[in-house]
C-alpha cells in the first residue's frame, strides 16, 4: 500500500519530528515493512507491505493508529460533523446478512466548484488520476485517507427502491470498467427495481455512475461480509481498491462516518445541498470480550508482564480493557477483525512493546529425542557415497512433458499423474522416472563441453493409482563420456554399462535394474531406495569367526563362446566347487576377459579366479588341484575349454 508522508502526518502530527528512515524502521517493527520510498516533487511516498490480516491498516488513518499506539501519541481529531439522520426518503432494503448496514444520503449537487488542487495531488501520489468530479474524487480520497470505500450513484438514473440482494442467475451488469459481467446467485449486488446497479463492495455499475451532468447523487457507505467480497472479486477477476479493503474487513462503524465525510466534501467543494441522510440496517453489536489470562500472556512473552502495562498498551490500540484478577477482559475495536483469541491480544501487547524486547532462551528438553529415521539416513548416505564416487547430485523439476515421460511409464498411466493447471505442457506430468530429467541435464553438460558426465538424483518417482498419485523414493544414476585419461596411470576409455552396475552393487543393490542406454553413450540406471540396504539397527554386526589360515587362489583361463552366459558358467562352477570343497570354497569370479583375433573364431578367453580357504588348516596344493579340476570339468560341460 502507498502512504504519502505528509498525509500520514496530518493524521498523526507527532510524526513531523521523525525522519523517513526512522519512520520506516518503526513501521517494520510494527509488522509493516517498507518495501520502497519514492520522493517526487514535494511528496514522499512509502510503499508499505500490509499482511492479509490487517485490513484496518489499509489507509493513512489506519497506519497512523498503530503508530500512535506505539509512540503513545494522539491521533489528530477527525473533522467529522455527524449528519442529522432522518427518515428514509425512499426505501433501501437489505435482503442479505452479508450487508448488515448501509448508510446513505441524497444530495443536490451544486454543479459549481471542483476537486481541490491538494486532493488532486494526493490522489496522484496514490497512483490515481483525479476525475475532477467531486463525488468520485472525494470517495477515492476518503478510501486512501480513512480506508472505508464509498460510492456515489447518479440518483436520476435510479428507478425506485435500492435493494442489497443476491443476484439472480442470468442477470448482468456492466461495471465501471466497461466490462459486462454475468452474475450468479453468489454475487451480492446493489439493485434498483430494474436490476443490479453495482457489485457490492467491488465496483459500481456503468449506467448509474456520476458524470459531469449529474444533478443529484445518492451516497453509499456500507459494510459487506469480507468472504462474500473476496469470492466475488476472485470470481470476476476484479481486484479493486474497494474489494481489497472490504475483502480484508472494513470497519462497520466507519460506514456512517465515511458517508458524513463524503457529504461534507461535496458540500464544501461544490456547494451540494443535503436532502436527507439515513441508515438502513444497524451497526453490528459490539464484539464480545475475550479473556487474556496473565499466565497466557507471560508464557507467550517469555517473562512476567505487568497487567497494568498490558492494559495500557491494548487501550492505546482502541481496545476496551478491564483487569479481572489475573486476566484482562478485552473488547476489540470495531476495526480489528483479526483479534479473536487471547493469543491474538497477547501478540498485540508484544508487538506494541516491540519484538526486540522478547527475551531469548532455549526451551527445556522435555522428552527423549527420537532417532533420525532410517529412510532419511539412507538417502543421506547414498548421496554422500555417490558424491564421493564422482557423481554430481542434481535437483530437477518433478514435472515433465508427457512425451518425455512416456518411454519410462509402461503400465503407469500418465492421466493419473497429470496436473489440471500446469505451467505448460512441458511441465504437466509428475514424472514416472527421474531418468528423462537426468538425460536432459546430461545433454546440457555435454553441450557445455564436459568429457565425462556423472549425475545422480534422489527423489520421488510417481505412479498412478486409483487413490491418486503415489510417490516412491528412487535413486537415478547417469554416466556418460570418457572415463580416465586424466593422469599418467589411467587410460581413457568409454564408460560401459558394467561401470554403472558396479556402482549400484557397491551401494548394496543385490539385483540392480538393467542399465539403460538413453542415447548413444548415455548410460543410466534407476532403482528404488527400498532396494538398497538400510542402516543396520545394530551398530556393529554379530561377530562371525574368520580363518587365520592362508587363502589359496587359482586362476583358470577358459576359452568360451562369445555368447557364453557368464551367470550360467559361474553357477555351474560354483555348484561343482561347493560339492567338492564345501565351506572351503570361498568364491569364483571373472577377473579378465580377452578377445583377440589370435583366438579361435567365435571364442573369447575368461580368466576365472577361484578362492579357497579353510577355517582349520593350511590347504595342500594337491587338494586344491583336485577342486580346480572339478571346476574345469563343470565348465567344460558348458563347452568351455582350458586355454593353453
Amino acid at each position: 500500500m502507498l502512504i504519502e508522508r505528509r498525509a500520514l502526518q496530518v493524521e498523526l502530527p507527532v510524526l513531523s519530528g521523525m525522519g523517513t528512515v526512522e519512520l520506516s524502521e518503526t513501521l517494520a517493527s510494527l509488522g509493516f515493512p517498507v518495501d520502497a520510498v519514492e520522493s517526487k516533487d514535494d511528496q514522499t511516498v512509502l510503499e508499505v507491505d500490509i499482511t492479509a490480516n490487517r485490513g484496518d491498516a489499509l489507509s493513512h488513518r489506519g497506519m497512523a493508529r498503530d503508530l500512535a499506539a506505539r509512540l503513545n501519541s494522539e491521533l489528530a481529531p477527525l473533522f467529522h460533523v455527524p449528519l442529522q439522520e432522518g427518515a428514509a426518503l425512499f426505501p433501501v432494503r437489505l435482503e442479505s446478512e452479508a450487508c448488515p448496514c448501509y448508510a446513505t444520503a441524497l444530495l443536490d449537487l451544486g454543479g459549481h466548484g471542483s476537486t481541490p488542487k491538494e486532493v488532486v495531488a494526493f490522489l496522484s501520489s496514490m497512483g490515481s488520476t483525479a476525475k475532477h468530479l467531486p463525488a468520485v474524487d472525494a470517495s477515492n480520497e476518503l478510501l486512501h485517507r480513512y480506508g472505508h470505500p464509498t460510492h456515489a450513484f447518479d440518483f436520476d438514473t435510479l428507478q425506485g427502491a435500492v435493494i442489497v440482494r443476491w443476484a439472480k442467475a442470468g442477470e448482468t451488469l456492466r461495471t465501471l470498467d466497461g466490462v459486462d459481467r454475468k452474475l450468479t446467485g453468489e454475487d451480492l449486488v446493489i439493485a434498483d427495481e430494474r436490476g443490479p446497479i453495482a457489485l457490492a463492495g467491488v465496483m459500481g455499475g456503468d449506467a448509474t455512475k456520476v458524470t459531469a451532468g449529474s444533478k443529484r447523487v445518492l451516497l453509499e457507505s456500507a459494510y459487506f461480509d469480507p468472504r462474500v467480497v473476496r469470492r466475488m472479486a476472485h470470481r470476476h477477476g476484479l481486484h479493486s481498491d474497494a474489494s481489497h479493503r472490504f475483502g480484508r474487513g472494513a470497519d462497520p462503524a466507519m460506514a456512517p462516518v465515511a458517508r458524513d465525510l463524503l457529504a461534507a466534501r461535496l458540500q464544501a467543494w461544490e456547494g451540494a445541498v443535503l436532502k436527507g441522510a439515513w441508515l438502513a440496517g444497524a451497526l453490528p453489536a459490539a464484539p464480545q470480550p475475550v479473556s487474556l489470562r496473565g499466565a497466557t500472556l507471560n508464557r507467550i512473552a517469555g517473562e512476567t508482564l505487568d497487567l497494568g502495562e498490558a492494559k495500557a498498551l491494548l487501550t492505546r490500540l482502541g481496545c476496551q480493557v478491564e483487569i479481572r484478577e489475573n486476566a484482562l477482559e478485552v473488547r476489540r475495536p470495531s476495526w480489528r477483525h483479526d483479534l479473536s483469541l487471547e493469543e491474538d491480544f497477547a501478540e498485540e501487547v508484544l508487538r506494541l512493546r516491540g519484538f526486540d524486547l522478547i527475551p531469548s532462551a532455549l526451551p527445556p528438553l522435555e522428552g527423549s529425542p527420537l532417532p533420525l529415521s532410517a529412510s532419511y539416513l539412507q538417502a543421506r548416505n547414498v548421496a554422500r557415497r555417490l558424491a564421493h564416487a564422482g557423481f554430481h547430485q542434481t535437483v530437477t523439476l518433478g514435472f515433465i512433458s508427457p512425451e518425455a515421460d512416456a518411454p519410462f511409464a509402461e503400465g503407469n498411466a500418465a492421466e493419473g499423474r497429470t496436473l489440471g493447471n500446469p505451467l505448460g505442457r512441458e511441465y504437466s506430468v509428475m514424472r514416472a522416472s527421474l531418468l528423462p530429467s537426468l538425460q536432459a541435464v546430461a545433454e546440457a553438460n555435454v553441450r557445455q563441453g564436459a568429457r565425462e558426465v556423472k549425475l545422480f538424483e534422489i527423489g520421488p518417482a510417481y505412479r498412478s493409482t486409483s487413490q491418486g498419485p503415489q510417490e516412491e523414493p528412487v535413486v537415478a544414476l547417469l554416466w556418460a563420456g570418457q572415463v580416465g585419461g586424466e593422469d599418467f596411470l589411467t587410460k581413457a576409455r568409454p564408460v560401459q554399462a558394467a561401470d554403472l552396475l558396479g556402482v549400484a552393487k557397491d551401494l548394496g543393490a543385490a539385483n540392480p535394474n538393467p542399465v539403460k542406454e538413453l542415447a548413444p553413450g548415455l548410460l543410466a540406471l534407476e532403482m528404488p531406495l527400498a532396494a538398497l540396504p538400510q542402516i543396520e539397527d545394530r551398530i556393529i554386526p554379530r561377530f562371525a569367526p574368520f580363518s587365520r589360515f592362508p587363502a589359496v587362489e587359482r586362476d583358470l583361463s577358459l576359452l568360451v563362446d562369445l555368447d557364453q552366459s557368464y551367470g550360467a558358467l559361474v553357477e555351474a562352477t560354483e555348484k561343482a566347487l561347493r560339492e567338492a570343497a564345501g565351506a572351503v570354497f570361498q568364491s569364483v569370479g571373472c577377473v579378465d576377459v580377452f578377445r583377440h583375433k589370435s583366438l579361435p573364431t567365435g571364442r573369447q578367453a575368461w580368466l576365472l579366479r577361484l578362492r579357497f580357504q579353510a577355517m582349520d588348516r593350511t590347504l595342500t596344493s594337491e587338494e586344491v588341484d583336485g577342486w580346480v579340476r572339478q571346476a574345469l570339468e563343470a565348465a567344460q560341460g558348458l563347452g568351455a575349454e582350458l586355454r593353453a
Binding site: 533420525l372 489440471g420 505451467l423
Partner: protein, 357 residues
C-alpha cells in the same frame, strides 16, 4: 702406431673407430661394431690375420706388432664402451620404474552433493543437538493437510488454481505449497503418544511447489525446511533462543537475529526473522540492500487451531514453528545471482557450490 704396413682401407677404418664407437648408442650396435672390427670372420682383425699369414717373412714381426697394436686398441675401446653402455642401460632400467613425484597423481573421482541438499543436511546437523529428528512427507498432499489443518481459511487466495497445482483426475489432491503440512501429519500421528513422548520436535526438509513462472528469483519447485516444537509453556522467547542458536551455528557467532511481527494463519503470534547480514556483518551491502539485515525465516507460536485440529489440547500444549526458504538462503549466502543455476545442474556449478563433505 706405425700403420705403414697396414692396408689403406683398414687404416681408414681405424681412423673411423673412435667416432664409430661413440656412435654405438646401445649394446646391439656395439656388438655389430665388435663383429666388424674384431669378429672371428670377415672383420678387419680377421683380414689382418690373413694378411699376416701371407706376408713376407721379414715383414712379419713388424706387421704382427702393428696388428696387435690395432687389435688391442679396438678391444679396449670396445670393452670400455660396453661398460659405459651397460651402465647406461642399468640406469635407464632403474629410472623406468621411478616416477617424478611431481607428475599429477591419479585423483579419486570427485563428485558433489547439490548445494541445496548440503544446506538442508547442515540444518539437520545444526538442530540435531537440540533433539530434533527429521520427518518427511509426500509432495502430493490433500487440501486438508496443506490448508485446513493449518488454519488457512477456505477462501484464501493461496488455495486457488492460480497459486497451487492440482491434479487433473484427483481434484482434491495437490502439490504441497509448503512443508507445513508435515506439521499436520506429524501432530496427528504423534498426538496419541504426546504425553509419553513429552512433546514433539522435528525438522522437515523437502520440496514444495507453487505456480510461479521460472525466472531469476522464482521457480515452480523449491525447497523449504520446516521446524516445529511442541511442549509445555512454550513462548516467543523459546523461538528466539532456538533460532538465535541455529543462526549462530549456521553463520557464525556474529549472527544476531531480529524478530518483526508478521502474519501466517498457522501461527499466533507470527514473526519474520531477520539475521544480521552474514556477508557484511551488518555494515550494509548489496545483499542486505544496505539495511544490515536479511530476512531468512517465517516463524511463530503454533496457532491453537492447528493443535486442536490434530487432536492436541492447546490449553496444555504449546509450541513454535518456523520455515526457511532453502534457495533464498543459499542464494544469499553464496551470492548466486540467478536461482535457475540451482536447477540447471551444470557439473562445474555443482562441484564449486556443493562439493563433498
Amino acid at each position: 702406431m706405425d700403420l705403414t704396413l697396414i692396408p689403406a682401407d683398414v687404416a681408414k677404418a681405424h681412423q673411423a673407430f673412435a667416432s664409430a664407437l661413440a656412435a654405438a648408442a646401445d649394446l646391439d650396435a656395439l656388438m655389430r661394431l665388435k663383429g666388424e672390427y674384431v669378429g672371428r670372420e670377415g672383420s678387419h682383425a680377421a683380414g689382418l690375420m690373413d694378411l699376416l699369414k701371407t706376408a713376407p717373412k721379414e715383414q712379419k714381426r713388424e706387421l704382427g706388432a702393428a696388428i696387435n697394436g690395432l687389435k688391442n686398441a679396438w678391444e679396449e675401446g670396445l670393452k670400455a664402451r660396453q661398460v659405459e653402455l651397460e651402465a647406461a642401460k642399468k640406469r635407464a632400467a632403474s629410472l623406468a620404474s621411478q616416477w617424478d613425484p611431481d607428475l599429477p597423481p591419479p585423483l579419486p573421482a570427485r563428485g558433489a552433493q547439490h548445494p541445496l541438499n548440503r544446506l538442508m543436511d547442515r540444518l539437520v546437523d545444526v538442530f540435531r543437538p537440540l533433539g530434533y529428528h527429521v520427518e518427511e512427507g509426500p509432495e502430493t498432499e490433500t487440501e486438508a493437510h496443506n490448508f485446513d489443518g493449518l488454519n488457512i481459511p477456505e477462501d484464501h487466495p493461496a488455495r486457488g488454481s492460480a497459486d497451487t497445482f492440482y491434479f487433473q483426475e484427483h481434484s482434491g489432491q495437490l502439490l504441497r505449497t509448503h512443508t507445513s503440512p508435515v506439521q499436520v501429519r506429524v501432530l496427528k500421528r504423534l498426538a496419541p503418544r504426546i504425553q509419553e513422548l513429552g512433546g514433539i520436535r522435528f525438522l522437515a526438509p523437502g520440496r514444495v511447489y507453487r505456480k510461479d513462472e521460472i525466472d531469476p528469483t522464482h521457480s515452480p519447485m523449491f525447497h523449504q525446511v520446516e521446524g516445529m516444537l511442541v511442549g509445555h509453556g512454550i513462548g516467543m522467547h523459546h523461538l528466539k533462543g532456538t533460532l538465535s542458536y541455529a543462526m549462530k551455528a549456521l553463520f557464525g557467532p556474529g549472527a544476531e537475529v531480529r524478530f518483526r511481527p508478521s502474519y501466517f494463519p498457522f501461527v499466533e503470534p507470527g514473526a519474520e526473522v531477520d539475521v544480521r547480514c552474514p556477508l557484511c556483518g551488518g555494515a550494509g551491502c548489496r545483499v542486505c540492500k544496505g539495511s544490515g539485515w536479511v530476512e531468512i525465516l517465517g516463524a511463530g507460536l503454533v496457532h491453537p487451531n492447528v493443535l486442536s485440529y490434530a487432536g492436541i489440547d492447546p490449553t496444555e500444549w504449546s509450541g513454535f514453528a518456523f520455515g526457511m526458504g532453502v534457495e533464498r538462503t543459499a542464494m544469499m549466502v553464496s551470492q548466486t545471482p540467478d536461482l535457475r543455476l540451482f536447477f540447471e545442474n551444470d557439473q562445474r556449478f555443482l562441484k564449486a557450490m556443493g562439493g563433498l563433505d
